[in-house]
Structure formats: C-alpha cells, structure tokens
Assembly symmetry: C2
Homo-oligomer: 398 residues x 2
C-alpha cells in the first residue's frame, strides 16, 4: 500500500518502481522512479538526503547507479518503498512527485555494447521455414549455443523516437537496386541491462546473472528485411538493423521481477557445462504488440529456449569483458501460435499472408505506421506489473 | 627540419606527428604527440598556452579534440609543426618532451561503436577457396557493397595488452566441445577513427570522408577460427572475435597521409551511386607482420577493393549516426601473393601448409607467441612515415 494518489492497483504500484530518466521543459536530465502516474524525482530526493546512493542518483543517466551493484540496488529499492508507503514521509516526498504527463522521458542508460541474441525456437524455426522451405528449420548449432551478434549501440533510441525508413541496397532480378526499404519490420524483444562490469579475460557464470544484470527493458529491433537479406552473407546483419533500435524508457529492476521467474523449456540435447543453469529459469513476461492501435500479437517470453543467464554466460565464455551499460536483447520473442509472433515477417508469413490492421491490409510497415510493444508480468505480492512500452512511428525515407 | 634531437630522418619526423595518450609512473592520462623518440606533452603545452584547442588537449582521451573538426585539427597540426621547427620555441617546448622510453602508452580513444569490414578482394577470395573449394570464391553481394558487421567496442585494447586465448565451443565429429581455441589467428587491418559525428537519419557522402575521419590506427582483429566456424551461421562472427581487438597506440592524422592517397583498384561491375567516389582513392600503406620477430608477410593496403570513403558512405546510407570515437576497420589486408596475406589462416592455407617461425613450424598461434604489425607510408615532402605498431602476446586460456 502506497500513499501516492492512484498508484495502488495500478500496474506501476509500489511493487514495480521502474527507473528512468526525465526532464521538464527542456531542463536537465534527472533520474526518477515511476509510481502510478507520477515520477518521483530521485535527483531531488538524493539532494535532500531522503535516499542515498553515493550521489549516483544526481547523474543524467542510470549508469553510475547501476555500477554500484546488487546490495546497493536492493537497499535503494527498500528505501524507496519505505518513502512511498510510510505516510510519515509523505510531506517530504510528495513535493518531489512530478506528473508523468509533464515530463519528457529520455534514454535511461548510456549504452556500452549492444548484443542481440536469437533465442526463441519458434522464431528461429519460423524464419527457417520462410527462407529455407523443405530444409531443417533450425541450423545445426542452434540448440548448442545461444546465437547472437553485436548491433550498433549508437543508434539505440528511447521509445517515442521516430524511426526514419532506411535506405539501402536490395537484390532484384536486374541486380542490386538502392532505395528506401520495402520490407520494414519490427522485432519484439526483451533487453537485459548490465550494471556490474567484469574484467577482460574473466567469465561470468550462469549463477552470477543477478550480480551483473540490473534490470530489463522492452526492445524493438527494427529490421529492414530486404536490406538484411542482400547483405547478411557471410558476416551477419549490418545496415538492415543498425539504423535504429528502440528501448522502453523504463528499466524494470530485477527485484521487481522476483515472482516472474518460471521454469524455461527443457533443453534437448543437453547443453554444455558452462551453459547449464540450475534452476533453468525464464521470465513470465507477456508481451503485446499493437500496430496502429490494433493488438496483433501476444508474444510469450516464457517460451524462450535460452535463458538470460545462459546468454550472459555465453557472451563472456571467451573472456569478453562486460561494461556498465551493456545491453543484450533476447532476440525476437515468438510463441508457437501465429498470434504470438514477434515480427511481421512471421505474422504475414514472409509477406505472403497480409494481415488486417484497422481497415487496411498490411505485410510490412508503411510510412506513418506506429508500433507499440508493452508487457506485463506477475509482480510481488500477487500484483501485476507493467514494463512500460516501446513505441515508434515510421517516417518516410529522406 | 625540426630542432628535436634525432627526429629528422626518423619515420616519426615532423611530417608525421601522430597523436596518442600516455602516462608516467602510473600518473594521469595525458594527450601527447610523437616526435622522434619523444612524446610532446600536449596537456602541458595547452596548459602553458603554447597550443590552443579549447582545452581538449587536457583530456584523458582524444575524443573531445577529435570532435572539434578538420579546421581545428589542421590548425593544431600547423601550430605543432611551428613549435617543433622554429628554434625560437625550443626553450619553451623542450622541457615538455618526454622520452618515449619513460612512458606507458594507453588506449588513445574511447571507442564508441566498432565496425569491421571485409574489403580485401584477395582475402575474401582466399577465405572462399579455403572454406568453399570448387565454388565461386566471392559471394554474389561482395562486389556490390562493402560487407561489414559490428564488433565489440568494449574489448578494443591498446597495443601491448596481452591477449588471453579464448575458450568456447567448436564443432567436432562427436558434436560440439568446449575448450580453449585451437585455431587462434590474427587479422592485420587498418582502422579509421571518426572525429565529427553525424545526426541520426543523415547519410555521409563519400565526399565528406575527410570531414568526419580524424585519423588512422593499425588493428589486429584477433580471431578464433574454430569458435567462429561453429557459431557464425546465420548471424555472423561473435565470440570468435569479441575477446580482444588490438589497436596501435598512435593515431596518425589524415593530414600526415596526404601523400599516401593512390588510385584504388578498378571496380567492376560499377558500384551504385552512393558508393561512387571520384577520385577513387585508397592509401598506400605498407604493412608488415612479424611472428615472434620473424617477418612473415607484407600486406599492401593499396590493393583494397573498397576504399575508406566508400566504407563510411555505406555505414551511414541507412541513416545510422556516427559518434565521435567510432572506429571502423578495413578487414584483413591481403595482397595477391602468399607473402602478402594478413591472416595465418591464409598464410598456412587453412592450416594445411605450416609456416616456419624461428626454428619452429606453425599454423595458428601458440601460447607465448607475439605478433607485431607495423606499417609505413609515403609522407609529406618525400619523407616516409611510420604508423606505430600493434603488438600482442598470447597468454594461455584461463
């Protein structure tokens, strides 16, 4: 129970408390935590010594706070809970609550490296069937390691940022042509944000996931399928992805997701030692994809084959170091049914089966289209928490 | 002619003047410029108002200086030349020269995004013949666009940093096994460092290369071929590369390379509009690869099919923004002859033809091996300039 007006019963109640960065009237960037339809100004709270985090809450992004580590993350969360539930603090805290409607939300982290995995079996199999019909849907390595690649950290943008349709080369019967992408797509994903770094040469064990990972964002990994198809052999996706990757403004701390961990799908064949996570847990995040306001899909994150702990262990098994602000995304989240897929490539089955969006028919994205991805999860104490949203509108190519 | 003792006639004479970051006795990081076997302490020089660059020479990395742009880069270089050639300045400048032997060289830039291209036709064809014998050596897209992918910026390390042999999965007849890489390789490359950023959604034209690119580093893109071979389908190299990428400590400014631009190889078929660079110029950089002190190869950068201006235009044709500190590397530099290849995969033809290194026979790297890549180029006024070195010694897997 919180004393904050309207917050109890909301999916942004006191069991959620996601972190973000906001500003008012073009002022400086400030760290805040969301409660109901308010943002609690943590820069002001730390300045007033209502909460202490070594000054890191007065910075313009979450990175320094995230670098403090789990004991401090937990202590700050406990203190925030106390401030927002004990009516004794109301007089001090209430003036620091800013209406959400009055703020602009900014990119909450400075992204160090961005890695994108490919960890949904249903998605990988769908893509295999669409592009390699008649062949085994999964490549031989897929069940032995979480396939991933590096994306462009500098073009990670916050929800709400317009996405300009990319230009590039695509194959045609007459040879390559250059022009605006004609197969612009989304990928609904979940991203994990690293707080605590690791040293070059060290490996992070599956057991140390929660020591390094601060929290979760929603991700839309915009994808130009025609550019990607022409460029990706042999070194993988490049310009088909690097024009924009959108993330939610709110970073949900792992502490808010303690009731969302559920057994992940069995893995057969058995995985090699460094990927063996006991318990083998995924997250029961229920995504929803809206296309121009119509809900077109409900991707279930709990169906992901590879867990975030396995992804982190894989990412570092070669001794690659982690930095604060590293972001790794799950890959497109697709469940077994057509109504559960996380890309329009799958929803329209490679463009062959248009879908109804409002009164129109669609395969890939038109200029002016808006896609919004949201998610909910079981929260502490029987609550349901929301993970913000990642939204973007397509602008015409320049 | 410089008044600096021993610098005239050296490949680090006054026509070179590469930038770096150094420290003495574990002290703070300082920007310096190399002249002969000295480092001119530019932090001290700017503090003494001998040279002015908006305070950016007092920072711990080159990024803020690189963000100033070409007019300021040129003005600072002209001023440094004046200080180091006019004997009237000797009394003021000489106390700021530090013997190179007394300093530790550090990573000169904070790397934003790291992109690696694949732009040597000889290298791509060699790799094709080794891995796909009997098939066309180049994939259909190769001559239409400069193939590239994103690497891990957080594991870019400065020359001299030991490289720990990575552990990972590789394929075997009995299925995947995990262990230290048994095919650890190098890739001799040239890297281009972006100074001036671009806005999201904008494209950088081939004509604007010199407005954005500050200078050049040598790169060793260490590669675990066995890890790479198992993981790279379908999303490209990941852990086979991400454990370490070494760069030279010295960033050679483009202004020092004005006499090194030479016509690049003809491109057939003709390239699409946004890749058409007139004049089509590469750089006459002559690399040398030493393996435990034995020179084993002399890769000629002038043979690269795609030019750095084309790479930059391609990188941004989809609207991807540039940040100060972005680093893009050429891909392995290989000439037409076996003695000109930039990887040991090629030198040993896939491991089938061991090479003599000292008194020993080698295919890939053993623990304790040291690889050093150097380069020279025609400098201004008939001089020859050196581009520093990128060196690393292999440590056993942990």
């Amino acid at each position: 129970m919180t004393w904050v007006t309207g917050a109890d019963g909301s999916p942004y109640g006191v069991t959620n408390l996601p972190y973000g960065v906001f500003r008012r009237n073009g002022g400086p960037s400030r760290i805040g935590v969301r409660i109901g339809s308010w943002v609690f100004d943590l820069a002001a709270a730390e300045a007033a010594e209502l909460v202490l985090a070594a000054g890191t809450l007065c910075r313009p992004v979450l990175n320094d706070f995230m670098a403090l580590g789990r004991p401090q993350w937990t202590a700050v969360r406990q203190r925030l809970t106390e401030l927002l539930t004990d009516p004794a603090h109301r007089a001090a805290v209430e003036p620091l609550l800013v209406p959400l409607a009055d703020v602009e939300l900014l990119l909450p982290i400075e992204v160090a490296d961005y890695v994108d995995f490919y960890s949904s079996e249903h998605h990988a199999a769908n893509v295999g069937q669409i592009f390699r019909p008649g062949q085994p849907p999964l490549l031989p390595n897929w069940k032995h390691l979480p396939i991933g690649y590096h994306g462009r950290a500098g073009t990670v943008v916050v929800s709400g940022t317009p996405v300009t349709r990319p230009t590039g080369q695509r194959a045609s019967a007459e040879g390559p042509v250059t022009g605006p992408s004609v197969r612009l797509d989304i990928e609904a994903e979940v991203g994990f944000v690293v707080g605590v770094p690791s040293a070059l040469g060290d490996r992070v064990s599956v057991d140390d996931f929660a020591e390094h990972v601060f929290g979760v964002v929603l991700v839309n990994d915009w994808s130009a399928r025609d550019i990607q198809a022409w460029e990706y052999q042999p070194l993988g996706p490049f310009l088909g992805k690097s024009f924009a990757t959108s993330v939610s403004a709110w970073v949900t701390p792992l502490d808010a997701l303690s009731d969302a961990f559920v057994p992940a799908p069995d893995q057969d064949p058995p995985v090699v030692d460094y990927l063996r996570d006991v318990p083998h847990l995924g997250l029961d995040l229920r995504l929803a994809v809206e296309w121009n306001g119509d809900q077109v899909s409900e991707p279930p994150f709990a169906t992901m084959y590879w867990t975030p702990a396995q992804q982190l262990a894989h990412l570092t098994v070669n001794g690659a170091s982690l930095r604060t602000g590293d972001l790794y995304a799950s890959g497109t989240v697709s469940g077994p049914d057509r109504g559960q897929v996380g890309s329009f490539l799958e929803l329209s089955w490679g463009g062959a089966e248009p879908v109804k969006v409002g009164d129109e028919s669609r395969t890939f994205l038109n200029d002016g289209d808006t896609v919004t991805i949201t998610a909910t999860a079981p929260g502490p104490d029987g609550t349901t928490i929301a993970l913000g949203e990642v939204s973007g509108t397509v602008r015409p190519a320049r």
